[in-house]
């Protein structure tokens, strides 16, 4: 065995504790160490993923106590796929922010610790098989996210962060309440054990716990009434952090919610609920995105809209629907990160970060503009880029389930996206420049990071088969609840003390 899934948590934590010490010895190591850690974890996750697809889920037991007594980590095709995606995005974001501009050493230490912990917390949310442990990881992720939102010393960033913190900590309280309700009924905290015993719960408890879970997890997943923090936080956070939010944190939130709905409780009507809430999220977000004058806010609303689309796709509930949802998540992580990273260079020179200030910037920043254009075209879903395949699979899934409404919705949403992305592209390429602005040339590592993302878009666009195998395995593993329960609880038979 190459390594165990627990290394995904243990090694970054060790590194985070080590960073302040290393800082005293060699300052540059503070920037290098997170990258090395992420590179190793990327290698580990790719090898484990290969192993898991062929030989089945790895259940890692902690402290030698078999589930449901100990905490366990589950590395199934689904969680493995998301872990790999998150670590890949984390690594690219690290490359991008390696030479983070104009921050001094003390700030760099904190930035890299917080970034590493943001990634680790999200990976922990996905890997863990225990609801209270998931709560702890959600708190790790959120505290890093609050601090990173307020990282720039402007006054609006503190406000955005406070808003995020308020909504975030209220929802985590609801999460704790849900955990209390479940514990009072079943006396266990292990997800597989809860799923196996869920029929023993009184229905009122089940429904109340489900409501609390949705409120608690919906904030990270950016579903409709709970996403008020998102546009501000995305707009005020540093560029790479916006990419990390949309590429990493949101994915963890959606995963946690889907896990609760698909595996933990089988309450009738969850699929319909997901479709309704997804459609509301989608429509409101896309409508707001069209009206935005602010580039990063526009990207943020677009991100919320895409998450709504993902939730609708999960709501279809068939294997094809889940496949489409996972494909959308994968593409959205890559494309939206590219848009955030390149977009923050496009508006770097302006104070207001308005869309009207990017006029004719393609002449100054040809490569960045080209990458932004690539991302825009891909996310709208034009063939032959990555976004096309995910939207196509969603359309076929909806068609096979006879959900004509969703087909119409996806098409009209794509049209809206076309409108607002091309509005920006039009300004970048065809508007005359208003006045000479001092643009910030992207550094070499930023170009490398964006280039990698662009390359990924092209690879997935031209060879979608390179990922579909993994996606099929992942969607089967999500829907096969019995196998999940069996995989986790049968580990107990081997290790029973």
């Amino acid at each position: 065995m190459v390594g165990s899934p627990v290394l995904f948590i243990a090694i970054p934590l060790l590194a985070a504790f080590l960073i302040p010490l290393l800082g005293f010895v060699w300052k540059e190591s503070v920037r290098i160490l997170p990258g090395l850690v992420l590179l190793y974890l990327l290698y580990l996750s790719l090898t484990l993923m290969e192993q898991v697809v062929h030989t089945g889920t790895i259940v890692e037991v902690i402290a030698g106590w078999a589930p449901p007594w100990g905490i366990n980590l589950v590395f199934s095709p689904l969680t493995g796929l998301l872990t790999t995606l998150m670590i890949l995005m984390g690594f690219i974001i690290w490359i991008y922010s390696y030479r983070f501009k104009n921050i001094d050493f003390q700030e760099a230490v904190k930035y890299f610790i917080l970034l590493l912990m943001l990634i680790t917390g999200s990976v922990g949310i996905v890997l863990t098989g225990d609801i209270f442990n998931q709560f702890v990881f959600i708190e790790i992720t959120s505290i890093s996210a609050y601090a990173l939102t307020a990282f720039y010393k402007g006054r609006d960033s503190a406000e955005a962060s406070f808003k995020y913190l308020m909504i975030g900590s209220l929802s985590s309280m609801f999460l704790l309440l849900a955990i209390a309700l479940i514990y009072s009924q079943l006396g266990t905290l292990n997800m597989a054990d809860i799923a196996a015993k869920a029929h023993l719960m009184k229905p009122e408890f089940k429904i109340l716990a489900l409501i609390f879970f949705i409120t608690g997890l919906g904030i990270e997943a950016e579903i409709f009434p709970l996403n008020g923090w998102a546009p501000d936080a995305y707009a005020q956070a540093p560029g790479p952090i916006g990419a990390a939010f949309s590429g990493i944190v949101v994915k963890a939130g959606v995963y946690a919610m889907i896990r609760v709905m698909f595996t933990l409780f089988d309450v009738a009507g969850t699929h319909q609920f997901l479709i309704v809430i997804g459609i509301i999220t989608l429509i409101i977000a896309e409508m707001s995105a069209v009206r935005q004058e602010h580039l990063k806010r526009m990207l943020a609303y677009s991100s919320i809209g895409q998450m709504g689309l993902v939730i609708v796709a999960f709501g279809i509930g068939t294997e094809e629907g889940v496949f489409a949802a996972l494909f959308l998540m994968l593409n959205h992580a890559i494309i939206k990160s590219l848009l955030f990273l390149s977009g923050s260079y496009l508006v770097y020179h302006s104070t207001g970060k308005y869309i009207s200030e990017v006029d004719g910037i393609a002449r100054n920043l040809p490569i960045t503009s080209f990458l932004f254009a690539l991302g825009s075209i891909a996310i709208v879903g034009m063939p032959p880029f990555a976004g096309f395949w995910s939207k196509w699979s969603m359309l076929t899934a909806a068609a096979h389930s006879n959900l004509i409404l969703i087909i119409g919705l996806v098409l009209s949403v794509s049209l809206i996206e076309l409108v607002y992305y091309f509005r920006v592209l039009n300004r970048i390429y065809f508007f005359p420049k208003k006045k000479e602005v001092v643009v910030k040339k992207p550094t070499i590592n930023a170009l490398l990071a964006m280039g990698l993302l662009g390359l990924l878009i092209l690879i997935i666009g031209f060879y979608p088969d390179s990922v579909t195998g993994y996606l099929h395995a992942a969607s089967q593993s999500l829907l096969d609840k019995g196998k999940y329960i069996h995989d986790v609880l049968s580990t107990g038979q081997l290790l029973l003390p």
Binding site: S4, V6, I9, A10, L13, L14, A16, F17, L18, P20, L21, F24, E60, V61, I62, A63, G64, W65, P68, W69, G70, I71, D104, Q106, E107, K110, Y111, I113, L114, M117, G124, F132, N133, V136, F137, E139, I140, I143, S144, Y146, A147, A150, F151, K153, A158, S161, L181, S184, Q185, L186, G187, T188, L189, N190, L200, K202, E204, F205, L208, P497
Partner: protein, 231 residues
Amino acid sequence: MKKILVLSLLAVFGVYLAEVLFKIDFGHQFFLNGVKDFYLTASPDKLKVANVVTSIVVNFRGFDTLGEVTVLFLATTAMSSILYKGRHKLGERAVLFSSSRIVMTGSKLLFPAIILLGVYVFVHGHLTPGGGFQGGVIIATGFLLMLLSYQDYQVSHVVLSVVESLAGITFASIGLIGLLNGGTFLHNFLHTGVLNNLLSGGVIPIIYIAVGFKVGAELTGLIYTALNEKD
């Protein structure tokens, strides 16, 4: 208007929550095969740890504790990042109240006693109530007392972060040694000894002592950062 709306919503929510909670039989546990019976027997039987809460916190659910220590570590980092003003402006200490000579002498005498109490609490974490968190908090309270009574009392940031990092590294390394030694992370690889002895429980006291140092250093750093925040 908003108040009335919120109040009525809260009333509905509260009544519903209470109605559901009243279905729990207070003072009785009716779930079958819960995890707690296993913990209650395995803790004295297998781990030889008298305090079951300690063995849950440190061993059965030790991963949570690792996460929790990380949350505190992050809170300290986040706080100093949020309040950071740039390398030149180090704020002046906020003066909560000016202290008399009696207070100063008193706290000087009390300080070692408080630290000793904190150390006692986390060393005996597996035997008596208390443990790493409580001991660490008590130590931080001792430093708080000194910081409040002496205006020029300095705590070295370097020492704090070294202690904090070393304690964190100890915790994570014990986990990794367990992984190499017993096959699972945080595996208890030491001899567990006899119930109610000071040297019992294998790695549990070691981890709790590391947690104690870490929590103490983190909370002291947190208070110190907050206290030095004066415009």
